[in-house]
């Protein structure tokens, strides 16, 4: 955002994501940044790693013959 809260620029990038490394890079890799509580300046972050872990925790693999909705806890 600029000083008037207007969107500066928006683009759509096509990307192949076929490994944990590629997914981590998509989220910014080691140049990941975040806005911490109470701060208004972007600071270096571990969020790209946490986002990959979020994917790992949610995607899962459904075994053949198992209905995941029946085993959900």
């Amino acid at each position: 955002m600029d000083e008037n809260n207007e969107v500066i620029d928006e683009t759509i990038m096509g990307k192949t994501i076929n490994s944990n490394y590629a997914l981590w890079q998509t989220f910014g890799g080691y140049n990941s940044m975040e806005l911490k509580d109470g701060e208004d300046v972007l600071t270096p972050s571990e969020n790209s790693i946490k986002a990959v872990v979020n994917a790992m925790n949610n995607i899962g693999i459904v075994k053949p013959g198992v209905n995941p909705k029946e085993v959900e806890t």
Partner: protein, 175 residues
């Protein structure tokens, strides 16, 4: 991508060495990593998620002991495990190379064929929200190719195997 694996790949890396001196005149060689184990950072966070309230930091010290009653022998394994963080990688090409070797492995099925995953949906078919719910939860990054900051607005599956469209927005240093 399927969480904590049953098997691990391990690589042995030669430690770096340097000379060490003190005011008394002793001269020696030092190996700064001194037997350290560097750990895939995704595993570090998955372990902490599983530990709940007992979670540890990024660096952990594993302790294993075993005993053979028949022979009366035993052993102890103790080593420090250092998770590779973005902070470490920003400062060192060594860690960036290690991260690439650890995690740049193509997702495959059990039969070895590449798998076409949809990272935008969970195992129940519900959307996974990675970014953009609030300003604080938005994923930002610095692109060192053009020197600009970007916010990731959303990720959508595209046509083709493991193809995605990443919607990103250029922002200033205030997000």
């Amino acid at each position: 991508m399927n969480g904590i694996p049953e098997d691990y790949n391990i690589a042995i890396v030669d430690d770096i060495k340097d000379s060490q001196y003190n005011v008394v005149g002793d001269v020696d060689k030092v190996k700064p990593h001194d037997g350290a184990v560097f750990v895939n950072p995704f595993i570090v966070f998955l372990e902490n998620n599983a530990l709940g309230g007992a979670l540890a930091g990024v660096n952990k010290k594993q302790f294993v002991h075993f005993y053979n009653e028949q022979t009366g022998t035993g052993g102890i394994i103790k080593c420090a495990g250092f998770g590779i963080t973005n902070d470490l990688m920003r400062n060192s090409k060594f860690y960036r190379t290690m991260m690439w070797n650890m995690t740049n492995r193509i997702w495959r099925q059990k039969n070895g064929q590449p798998i076409d995953l949809d990272i935008t949906k969970d195992y129940l078919g519900n959307p996974i929200l990675y970014t953009g719910e609030t300003k604080d939860s938005t994923l930002y990054y610095f692109d060192d190719k053009d020197g600009q900051y970007y916010a990731i607005d959303r990720i959508e599956k595209a046509e083709g195997v493991n193809k995605y469209n990443i919607h990103r927005r250029r922002v200033n240093e205030h997000g």
